[in-house]
Symmetry: C2
Subunit: 377 residues, 2 copies
């Protein structure tokens, strides 16, 4: 709780009470410094025109008839006075807020940030603001439904034009009811009731591309370090794995599939089990497909412990592209990336279509998981 905050030795002056007084300095020098609270009426008065004229000029109205002369005069006045439009007032008058809301679990999120970034960038391009509301809260006792409802409620109070609902791992979710009042798109998750449009990673294609890469490198006996077999990610990735093998006329040996806890330790143990089951050349796999990068990290240790080299003796391929792991393991990990940024961006695009009343391409959109080649295959 960061109690020990003390004055810094390095900062010479101690502007302690730096709070700005809220008093308005009515008419300062004619400096171009933006004065607080300059309104459209002020601009109008200073330019000697009506407020309406200013509004017309600033909103670039097509069929407004304003002479080029007054037009430039108004724009100059805007500059001089440092006028800045009031987004809230504009929203009130025009009945459109230019805001989207996103509710997501920030706390437990190594990935949420990527979704947010993708969405944020795209929203910025669409000249929209993205309001972020946490669906989990520090002082709440776990991620409770109450928080989510409150988050959606707060967002709706801000009159967001659309809602994004993002999960940090691919799964089915229940979205608060009030989300129905506004166009809503799910990201990295799907509606358990099947009503809302969603955007998810194409796990199956990802699994396929991973195993295809191993096959292409000449491996035919491939071990799989599996996640909890019930979650959508595991189902899809394993299915893709089977497809790739089948296309090469191979089958997945159930003996070579080991499920473990989705951690480095879990990966370590699973890798040990697979590696110790066979002798080299006598059925021992020459490649490991780890269904996430954390497990790949553990597998690395198991492999190195046995004096084996990556990728010469055993090739490893991961999933997720957890940057801080994959890019810093030695050798760097070849892995399949989860397209969080793209999903975030696509979410905003979909929302934009929806709010514009346009049809969307599909109820559930799947985004490719690209292979990231590094040095472990």
């Amino acid at each position: 709780m960061a109690k020990s905050t003390h004055a810094a030795a390095s900062a010479p002056a101690a502007h302690a009470a730096a709070a700005r007084p809220a008093t308005s300095a009515p008419a300062s020098t004619g400096a171009p410094a933006a004065q607080r609270g300059v309104t459209m009426a002020d601009v109008a008065k200073a330019a000697g025109v009506s407020r309406t004229a200013v509004s017309f000029v600033l909103s670039n109205r097509e069929n407004a008839s304003i002479s080029e002369e007054t037009r430039t005069r108004i724009l100059e006045t805007v500059q001089v006075l440092g006028y800045r439009p009031n987004a809230g007032a504009r929203a009130l008058a025009s009945q459109r807020s230019d805001w989207y809301g996103i509710v997501t679990e920030i706390v437990t999120a190594p990935f949420a940030v990527d979704i947010i970034k993708g969405a944020q960038d795209q929203a910025w391009l669409h000249r929209r603001f993205l309001l972020i509301a946490p669906s989990d809260q520090a002082d709440a006792t776990g991620p409770n439904q109450g928080m989510e409802d409150a988050a959606v409620e707060k967002l709706l109070e801000q009159r967001v034009e659309g809602l994004l609902y993002a999960a940090t791992y691919h799964r089915a979710v229940h979205v608060p009811k009030s989300a129905n009042e506004v166009p809503t798109v799910l990201i990295n998750c799907f509606d358990a009731d099947g009503k809302l449009p969603s955007i998810v990673p194409d796990e199956r294609a990802g699994g396929r591309v991973a195993v295809e890469r191993l096959l292409q490198a000449g491996h035919s006996r491939i071990g799989v370090i599996n996640l909890d077999p019930d979650i959508p990610a595991a189902v899809g990735r394993l299915e893709g794995c089977r497809e790739a093998l089948a296309a090469a006329g191979l089958e997945l040996d159930p003996e070579l599939v080991v499920s473990g806890h989705a951690t480095a330790d879990g990966g370590y143990e699973a890798a040990c089990e697979i590696l110790d089951k066979y002798q080299a050349g006598a059925g021992r796999p020459t490649a490991l497909f780890c269904l996430n990068d954390r497990m790949a990290m553990g597998a690395y240790d198991a492999i190195k412990e046995r004096g084996l080299a990556i990728p010469q003796d055993i090739a490893v391929i991961g999933f997720d592209n957890q940057e801080l792991i994959a890019a810093y393991l030695r050798p760097k990990l070849t892995t399949v990336a989860l397209p969080f940024e793209e999903m975030g961006a696509l979410g905003v695009q979909t929302l934009a279509s929806l709010t514009a009343g346009q049809p969307i391409t599909a109820h559930q959109q799947m985004v490719d998981c690209p292979l990231l080649e590094r040095y472990s295959v």
Copy 2:
């Protein structure tokens, strides 16, 4: 760019054109479903009172005289109609927006998310909304000043009551001029002009606590894998290191300080240099203080390559607490954490004081960097 979006096989129904029509259903059944666009006036009419009365009740006015009877009647009507206050209109009328803005580099940020989370949580507790604006943008050519100005400008258009400016690594920054129009607090950086209040990690105390831990474990000859010696983080941490040694009557041997690139590879090379400079027992350090976790990751490899055990032969301590590295290395890395969340939270608290006109405790507040004990010492 996520081109291949195709209909999902798993989603049965194809609610393709799910766009909601914007037509208002004037008087639906008396269902309790929240009708879009219920206003305070609607509530007033339905409850048979004036709009003022509703406003008084909803804002819990102290000295308003509303009988308990009408009060409950109003509240019931609010429930029934599903009235939801319009935050924008409220902001306009009350001249306070309840919004803070934060501008930060999301792109290049393994850490920015933590700052945001801390700030977000705290803002939520203060019943404030946090608007996030990116200071770097996907299509921009690098982090340019133009983007930052635009970000601040956009935030001010939203009439944020205060501004947070966050960097992802501790450094001096230049803040856009217009930030002066509103209370502003810097997080994980400081104003090059020395005007704005800031919140930074106490690097020196962090360096001290790290080395104290090593000393306590019986190490007296400690190697240091340094960052670029010029950045504030390196200066502070090294200073703390010297202090701890001095307190134990020791001095820092310049021979044992090696600077490297702030990556795993840089750490690997630096560690190799230190380890190969001496024989075991003949001056070779028994512990390494790595000034960040990525370098510690490389150091691990150098140590293991030489057949040495962590922490039995060589103890390692890191800095930053980059979760995905520190918590998954084997053995798990003891490190000093950068208090991003705390800094974010403290930033909002400071902003709250500032906007309330209260004095703040110090121009620059330093937040402790706690030691995280794991298994590498």
